[in-house]
């Protein structure tokens, strides 16, 4: 796993069957870094940063604190609380049979809100499926997210004015789209940038390697965020890759990278803003590894007890991104318990109100399934559609 030194064998190599007089290849120990040939030069691979600002107790490293204005801090806090409320409510609805299988984001609120924070309206976002925190921030109505997870296709329609892709269900498959948008920006001298996120599991997909390479070759304005939440379903991130810090992969493609405590909202914002600046200023792609933990189920169809211990989960509870941030805000006298309670109940209410909207909208429209296949439905599909409508008619379905 070490990428540091070249291992040399202490014993002579075995005799090759096709080389009767086996050569002795000397173990080379001298390492010179001079520039002339006939040497072993060393190529320095450099370093990457690992950023943490707010610790588990809500203590801040003042030298690194971005000192965001109060209104910003409160807005961020509220977004994290709202994300969590929605998350819990969806789980609850799912358990009650009012929601399809969905992927909870519990514990990843700082990662979500931190990465999306620097985006402006003209920037683009290509999310993975566990990104409703960021989607809320971008302006997706809660009721629409509920519709989506409950199997209504219209939930995927990006709201007017929101430059987001419908999220990706096939892990990694949305990443080249983001790179392509960034290539388009670059070619059109558009000063926006693209944010794309994916998981530690997705990072094994070759298409992400290809997308990173395209991004750096064309110096395109894109920020890759790998949300390392420890698991891809049951597979621990240690088993997913041969590097403990996934951020190491970025430099291997020539992409500046950082590692961040993904449960530390301040560190996430600092890293994301830095990445956004980098991308916007024409310097090409940037990679952020956000180290966090999937506190809940992979999806509601999953049983984590099969593959992980409660101990592990409990240890991560102490690192809660919201609690930590609240301590910080309290110390800054920007929040107190009463305010937190008020915000929580407002958020809860917002979710419940959205649920009502969702319930009203949750009407299947089976006749729409052909509507978005092509701009103009070809005759052979018109025929199939007519068959299908006849079938619905026979069943008495609207």
């Amino acid at each position: 796993m070490s990428s540091k030194t070249i291992e040399t064998s202490a014993t002579p190599p075995p005799v090759a069957t096709n080389t009767p007089d086996a050569p002795i290849v000397e173990t080379l120990s001298s390492k010179s870094s001079c520039d002339t040939p006939m040497t072993e030069k060393l190529i320095d691979l450099g370093e990457i940063q690992d950023i943490s600002i707010l610790n588990e107790d809500g203590e801040v490293n003042a030298a690194l604190d971005p000192n965001l204005p109060k209104v910003e801090l409160l807005k961020i806090h509220r977004a994290m609380v709202l994300t969590r409320k929605l998350d819990r409510r969806m789980l609850n609805m799912q358990r009650q049979g009012e929601m399809g299988t969905f992927a909870p984001g519990l514990g990843q609120e700082a990662t979500q809100i931190g990465q999306i924070y620097p985006l402006q309206k003209n920037d683009w976002f290509s999310p993975s499926y566990r990104s409703f925190g960021a989607q809320l921030w971008r302006g997706w109505p809660i009721d629409q997210l509920l519709l989506l997870w409950d199997g209504f296709f219209e939930g995927f329609a990006p709201p007017e004015g929101v430059n987001d892709l419908p999220f990706s269900i096939v892990v990694g498959s949305h990443v080249p789209l983001a790179t392509g948008i960034a290539m388009g920006m670059r070619n059109r001298n558009d000063e926006s940038f693209v944010l794309v996120n994916f998981g530690d599991g997705a990072f094994s997909q070759g298409i992400i390697a290809e997308s990173m390479n395209f991004a750096v070759v064309y110096k395109s304005p894109i920020v890759f965020v790998v949300e390392n939440n420890g698991y891809a379903i049951s597979t621990k991130s240690e088993c997913q890759a041969g590097i403990a810090e996934l951020a190491r992969r970025g430099p291997g493609f020539g992409i500046p990278s950082v590692r961040v405590d993904g449960n530390d909202i301040l560190a996430m914002i600092v890293a994301s803003q830095r990445a956004a600046d980098h991308a916007r200023s024409g310097k090409g792609p940037f990679l952020i590894e956000a180290v966090t933990y999937r506190m809940s189920l992979h999806t509601t169809a999953d049983d984590p007890k099969v593959y992980r211990n409660d101990d592990e989960v409990e240890a991560w509870e102490a690192k809660c991104p919201i609690a930590r941030f609240e301590t910080y805000l309290k110390k800054k006298n920007l929040l107190d318990d009463a305010a937190i309670e008020r915000i929580e109940s407002e958020c809860e209410q917002e979710v419940l109100d959205a649920r009502e909207v969702f319930r009203k909208k949750a009407i299947a429209k089976p006749r729409e399934v052909f509507d978005y296949m092509y701009e103009n439905l070809p005759p052979e599909l018109q025929e199939q559609q007519a068959d299908y409508f006849a079938k619905l008619d026979r069943k008495g379905v609207e």
Partner: protein, 327 residues
């Protein structure tokens, strides 16, 4: 005989195959410690250890490519792809290596391996989780493609696929995984790949289907016989490639009428191929056009409306009635 679901029957086939032959290994995402997202590989890790029950990184193309390498090396991998929609990720390794290594190496190497993957709709899943694209593999030279319809034939077919010296794509109808139980004997059973099964004999019309579609077809058949007095012959294809053309032709030669049912898209689907073969070999016996009840040429809809997309008994009955009425 013990009653088993299809999931349990498949697990039994894997377990017994692994016990019988130590070259057999299983690999895929979440198949070891988690026992697979549908639990088909449950308990195998404990029994056979992590060199034979291999959790892989999340990369389908890498999984298939490395499995082909293992097969070249002499092992017999049974790969699970979590949903058949993700076999697209591995299309190149399937088409360019798995299907070709025997021919390319002039018989020196072979890819004796199986890709197991759940396919089809009906379980309220999200996008990409309900595809039925068996026709892609049927169109790909060098592969075999089989699809069981119930616990017992699933177990026997999987045994056959594992023992097959050539690569087999094994589509599992996930809607059937836990839908019902069947007697599955303890002693290993196998069956011949390439043989269809006449599930019900009849004289009036031939109904051809496979996989999860056998259920609506059999339901329709019951009503057709009981209520509409049509004496249908029902064929479970089981093997998509090679196809048991002989059995199909014989049946249609007898009945003169035929309806084919599958979930996958219509254009260039399995029904098209069956029609082409019937046209070639039973032309003079055909009394009516062969009807196909298939998925439409659209993306599988989100789950609130999937039941309307999928072929159902009513539609099948309608098609049979129309075909019977044709003169």
């Amino acid at each position: 005989m013990p009653q088993k679901t299809m999931v349990e029957a498949l697990n039994l086939a894997l377990d017994q195959s692994m016990a019988a032959d130590d070259r057999v290994c299983v690999m895929g995402q979440d198949i070891a410690i988690n026992g697979g997202v549908f639990r088909v590989t449950k308990g195998l890790l404990e029994k056979y250890g992590e060199t034979r029950v291999i959790d892989t990184p999340l990369a389908e193309n890498g999984i298939i490519g490395t499995a082909v390498g293992m097969a070249i090396y002499g092992l017999n991998p049974v790969v699970e792809i979590q949903f058949s929609g993700f076999t697209m990720q591995a299309f190149d390794q399937i088409e360019q290596n798995m299907a070709r290594i025997r021919n390319r190496s002039r018989g020196r190497y072979r890819a004796s391996m199986v890709i197991r993957t759940p396919y089809g709709g009906g379980i309220r899943a999200v996008e990409h989780h309900s595809e039925s694209r068996e026709a892609y593999w049927a169109h790909t030279p060098g592969l075999k493609v089989v699809i069981p319809s119930g616990p017992r034939n699933a177990r026997a077919l999987l045994n056959a696929a594992i023992q097959d010296p050539d690569p087999v794509v094994f589509y599992e109808p996930k809607a059937v995984y836990r839908a019902f139980r069947e007697d599955v004997p303890d002693e290993p059973e196998t069956m011949t790949i390439g043989k269809a099964n006449i599930v019900r004999e009849g004289e009036d019309i031939t109904l051809i289907a496979y996989g999860a579609m056998m259920r609506p077809v059999l339901e329709a058949a019951e009503d057709l016989v009981d209520i509409h007095h049509v004496n249908v012959e029902v064929i479970d294809l089981l093997s998509i490639k090679p196809m048991d053309t002989e059995t199909l032709v014989e049946s249609v030669t007898k009945t003169g009428r035929c309806v084919i049912v599958h979930e996958g898209p219509r254009t260039c689907g399995i029904a098209a191929e069956i029609i082409a073969r019937l046209n070639e070999k039973a032309f003079e016996y055909l009394i009516a056009p062969v009807k196909r009840i298939t998925g439409y040429d659209i993306h599988f809809p989100f789950f609130q409306v999937e039941q309307h997309y999928l072929p159902d008994p009513d539609t099948i009955i309608e098609a049979v009635k129309e075909t019977m009425a044709y003169e």
